[in-house]
Amino acid sequence: SQKIEQNSEALNIQEGKTATLTCNYTNYSPAYLQWYRQDPGRGPVFLLLIRENEKEKRKERLKVTFDTTLKQSLFHITASQPADSATYLCALDPNGGATNKLIFGTGTLLAVQP
């Protein structure tokens, strides 16, 4: 079956360390993959998009990698801060952008301890 998997267990890290979150998918061939941040009781907010022909994408302290062979994306936050604590969702368009619909993972909760 087709699915997107993110680690359902919360990730607890110390302030200043690098947080790494994983997104694995099966049976899709997405043209790109997106990452969103969601704070408690709020809607998700778009962070980054990485295309299938890009190995890595950066934005300030955020870095995303995309390995289409492994069917995996890694999301890194360097020099993490307590304000980075949130749930992070990955998402992809299963139809390669043809329908504008996204499939979301269930998200990983990141807790950065001061």
Binding site: Q34, G43, P44, L49
Partner: protein, 114 residues
């Protein structure tokens, strides 16, 4: 900035009531979506609309209907609310024909059905 607003942040209704959730976006987006989000299940697509008066069922349309009379407004209707429809409801919009389908979310409506 894209702005997606939802009519209520919190709503409490009784079983059997008809419930209207409204969503308005100000970016002239063609596509609009309604999701529900439950712990452990992630975001699940209820309905989406790719144009005025056009709609398509998502993954879990049972018990819901939608209305899109104007481009900026997309309404979700619970014809007869049931307790299993207690959830967080999120509206999103995206531009059709764009290079990517990044979705912009509203703040969410936490619906409780008693």
């Amino acid at each position: 900035d894209v702005k997606v607003t939802q009519s209520s942040r919190y709503l409490v209704k009784r079983t059997g009531e008809k419930v209207f959730l409204e969503c308005v976006q100000d970016m002239d987006h063609e596509n609009m979506f309604w999701y529900r989000q439950d712990p452990g299940l992630g975001l699940r697509l209820i309905y989406f609309s790719y144009d005025v008066k056009m709609k398509e069922k998502g993954d879990i349309p049972e018990g819901y209907s939608v209305s899109r009379e104007k481009k900026e407004r997309f309404s979700l209707i619970l014809e007869s609310a049931s307790t299993n429809q207690t959830s967080m409801y999120l509206c999103a919009s995206t531009s059709a024909g764009g290079e990517t389908d990044t979705q912009y979310f509203g703040p969410g409506t936490r619906l409780t059905v008693l």
